[in-house]
């Protein structure tokens, strides 16, 4: 699934490890989500949504 995670992260000058720490997952998980290889669980999507103060739909783009 396409998403804006990398843009949102780099806007804040965060590394993948920084973002991973903020949402309590591994850096590998953030990397896989940014590359569109892995779709996050709903709880993780909500944590990202709260962190960036955006709706889930504003972070994750429905490809259909």
């Amino acid at each position: 699934m396409k998403n804006r995670l990398k843009d949102l992260r780099t806007e804040r000058n965060w590394t993948q490890a920084d973002l991973a720490q903020h949402v309590s997952v591994s850096r590998q998980t953030i990397n896989a989500i940014e590359k569109g290889k892995f779709d996050p669980s709903l709880p993780l999507a909500f944590r990202l949504s709260r962190l960036f103060d955006l709706t889930i739909e504003e972070i994750f783009l429905d490809g259909e």
């Binding site: 490890a17 309590s24 591994s26 990397n31 892995f38």
Partner: protein
């Protein structure tokens, strides 16, 4: 929900993996005891053999519970990699196992293969599938 920062999270992950490894070792050791104990240690005394089998079963149940708990606690990407590896392993175990049963029933296989070969095959498949999963999501 798991907590994960670079130091504390890694330490927690290592602790969880270590706990699962201990359960795995305990189960493997009890399996070896139940398998080789009768011939090497207690000369096929039934009571001792039953005790060894009971210990193996009890540790096996503990290992399953520890594995389920480990899956719940780990990072969600790692959980997906493990679940994918387990699905492939189960599929290979079934397909190869039933193929062997069918081929053996049709008398296509000249010599018997030990049933112990199946878990060894599944363990190898699981390890390969896990490594492939790690590489895919690297």
């Amino acid at each position: 929900m798991q907590t994960h920062n670079q130091t504390g999270g890694d330490q927690d992950a290592a602790k969880r993996a270590g706990r699962l490894a201990l359960w795995t070792l305990a189960w493997v050791a009890s399996l070896a005891l139940a398998r080789f104990g009768p011939s090497l240690l207690w000369d096929y005394q039934p009571v001792a053999s039953w005790v060894a089998v009971a210990i193996n079963l009890a540790l096996g149940i503990g290992w399953i519970v520890a594995h389920a708990r480990y899956l719940r606690e780990i990072d969600e990407l790692q959980r997906k990699i493990m679940q994918d590896a387990m699905a492939i392993t189960l599929g290979v175990g079934w397909v190869v196992g039933f193929a062997y049963v069918v081929a053996d029933g049709a008398e296509l296989i000249a010599r018997d293969i030990s049933i112990g070969a199946l878990p060894v095959l599944m363990a190898v498949v699981y390890m390969i599938a896990t490594v492939v999963g790690q590489l895919r999501y690297r």
